[in-house]
Symmetry: C2
């Protein structure tokens, strides 16, 4: 089993890497007479404000993203905990590489396919924060963990699943590192009580070669109140301490992991001081900090910066780094503009996109939009923008939208353009959903 | 300007076709030691029931899809109208090719990028049922219409947009065919009244070489009541008759087009008998019939089969051809199973996926699920399945889900597996979102 702790490298030149060309059949790009590889995206020279991009397009602001990356790394460093950002948010290997280069300990992922994508792009430590189920999925992971330089963890919370994993990896003579997932009543996955936990531990004991318990994992995001979240986190520390004391943890350091993007501060406060009687890696897994948003995660982050002393004293904050640009397509009524942006382009499950700036081609720079403009509805390929009669807006103007819920925006795009401060494209980030 | 009416061919070997390899970084596929091209997907031998596919996966049932295709073609043939199915639903060139081979007159699309994808795969007649806005988007279409064998139409409904198009294509010495879009008060795009219509016609008159009016287009799906829809359709016939009488229609036959997937029968009834004083092509544009669903379009189709005499007398009906397969991942509470299927995999804006069948690996065939099972919530990568204590279900079982709203399911998948009646993969359909 790989317990390799060498710095994790993320290379685009991994020999397992296949495909991934960017061609002119993609939406939201500029002119591409020939397909290019992800490594050839420097120097394209596309300028957004010169209408050299086919809109709608998704863009990341390079400098903002880099600030967000540093903010979170600084936060976890001050708590002495490790960061394995949830890669399912972006599924963008170039962003994984930035996160790892910025100090992340590993990448968190949700499925076997996502894990394979990360591995193929050089990621060498993955927490798959999910149960691993199904023959083909087990084969995928089996191929990856055959590389002794690749460290992998997945979750277990039930007997049938453990026996299926144990049988599969026993037959292959392989060893899989697993984390006991604790769950909350009414929540998602994870053992609810001592009886379920005992059954899981008994099942693990049947497969001592194939399955090695490395620690404890929770996802606190299914709970809504700080007090119940803290109690849940304290339960995780207690369980891990007992398991460590009983010699059941086979990895040193043991792993203790939690945290989505809304409560990572509370997880850091509860987990960082834990003393379990053996060396411990505390690993946080927020996914949305890199791009942030102006919706659910802006709200959550504001709470964090109020309640957490370290976040409170940091001089900067997370800022939205992901926007969508689209054209005004029709203004059929005096108070209604139709925008060429739809459910095909943006998340809509946690609030509609928010108009931020307007740009009339030929002008010097985009301007902030009036505060009363808002999206009131979306169809597959259109958005309804509420305006007021007489507002300065016309067909052919370009609008920039902030978003809520980056995860479900990223998965609408096969590539996202990275812009500098002058709105010039400096890179293209591919996604693998 | 191309008014070519030769049979439209859809070839995967078009010389403009780039990229599109299928590799093992994709979700929902089987083992792929090497990347394959879309033409190499025959004979893969993957069997869904033998767990040779990494789930979750999206699948199309070949025979059902073929029946749906024939049903709609038979319907439009009986009305003597033409079919340009909305390709934005699937964005799958292999399905476009099936629709064209089955008798479709062209393909409808929503954006310049979608049009380019269709062209690159051999489609040679496209209605872009949208305004064409923005320099780069105009360039894309300009490149395509340079091919005299490619016939293209887009919509106009406002003066600024027309002047932008006129200036752009005048400078290139090209001619663009446009359709006047009529709209309804409170609806989406389209001219609302005679004043807007007159302004549009005056703007078109400024660009007689660059812009040629080919007919009238409406989208009735923004209205909800049959009576107002019929009135809207009758207005379209009246306007087109007046334009034809005034010699303003530059294409022969003139084009009259409407119909989403919910009211195509009413559109056929109103448009088919239209006599406008010149030859006329009536073109319907439903997009969802090929896969159908068990949600919004099942409900709409049931209404059609009640109210429309031709649909009523047809011996078959549309059937759902698209399903998602996923594993039971955890059963943490007696009445709750967690499924490895989330908002990343399925539409959720018009009802959650509906559990249809369950399969325990090793059994002979899938079984229908109990009627009381239902999805009660979805997260990015998980679904909550309500069950009853004691139900026969365990971790590792495979579940098939029907869906509501195929458009927002297709765009979650870069390829969809085509299955025969024995659940064997016979083809892979790629999407280009």
């Amino acid at each position: 089993m790989a317990l390799n702790t060498r710095p994790v490298a993320a290379s685009m030149n991994d020999t397992n890497y296949h495909g991934g060309m960017i061609d002119n059949l993609n939406k939201g790009v500029g002119a591409l007479p020939e397909p290019i590889s992800p490594a050839q995206t420097q120097g394209l020279g596309w300028r957004l404000l010169d209408e050299e991009i086919s809109l709608p397009a998704a863009v990341l602001y390079d400098g903002v993203m880099q600030q967000n990356l540093q903010w979170m790394q600084s936060f976890v460093t001050q708590y002495g905990v490790k960061l394995a950002p949830h890669g399912k948010t972006t599924m963008a290997p170039k962003l994984f590489a930035r996160q790892l280069a910025g100090g992340a300990w590993g990448i968190t992922l949700a499925t076997a396919q996502q894990t394979r994508v990360a591995y193929a792009h050089g990621v060498r430590r993955v927490i798959m924060a999910n149960q691993l189920v199904g023959k083909r999925n087990m084969e995928i992971i089996g191929q990856l963990i055959a590389d002794a330089d690749f460290e992998f963890f997945c979750l277990v919370d039930n007997v049938d699943g453990i026996d299926q994993l144990g049988r599969f990896y026993s037959e292959r003579g392989q060893t899989l590192q697993v984390l006991l997932e604790l769950g909350a009543a009414g929540g998602r996955t994870g053992v609810r009580d001592a009886a379920q936990q005992d059954a899981v531990l008994a099942a693990l004991a049947r497969w001592p070669e194939a399955l090695q318990l490395a620690g404890v994992e929770i996802y606190e995001g299914v709970l809504k109140q700080e007090a119940e979240i803290r109690a849940f986190l304290q339960r995780a520390v207690t369980v891990l301490t007992e398991l460590a004391g009983a010699g059941q943890i086979k990895r040193t350091p043991a792993l203790l992991s939690g945290a989505g993007s809304a409560w990572y501060d509370v997880v850091a406060e509860e987990f960082a001081p834990a003393r379990i009687g053996m060396p411990l890696d505390v690993v946080l897994r927020p996914g949305c900090y890199l791009t942030h948003d102006v919706g659910i995660y802006k709200t959550a982050q504001a709470q964090i910066e109020i309640r957490n002393p370290i976040a409170h004293q940091m001089r900067t904050s997370l800022k939205p780094a992901l926007q969508l640009w689209a054209y005004v397509q029709s203004i059929p009524e005096a108070d209604k503009a139709i925008i060429g942006l739809g459910k095909r382009d943006a998340a809509f499950d946690a609030g509609f996109p928010t108009p931020a700036q307007i740009y009339c081609p030929g002008d010097a720079l985009p301007q902030d939009v009036p505060a009363h403009w808002q999206i009131t509805g979306m169809m597959d390929q259109h958005a309804y923008l509420q305006i007021a009669p007489g507002d300065e807006i016309k067909v052919g103007d370009m609008l920039a939208f902030d978003i809520s819920h980056p995860c479900l925006t990223f998965d609408k795009w096969r590539q996202v353009l990275v812009l500098d401060e002058r709105y010039q494209v400096v890179d293209i980030v591919q996604t693998y959903f």
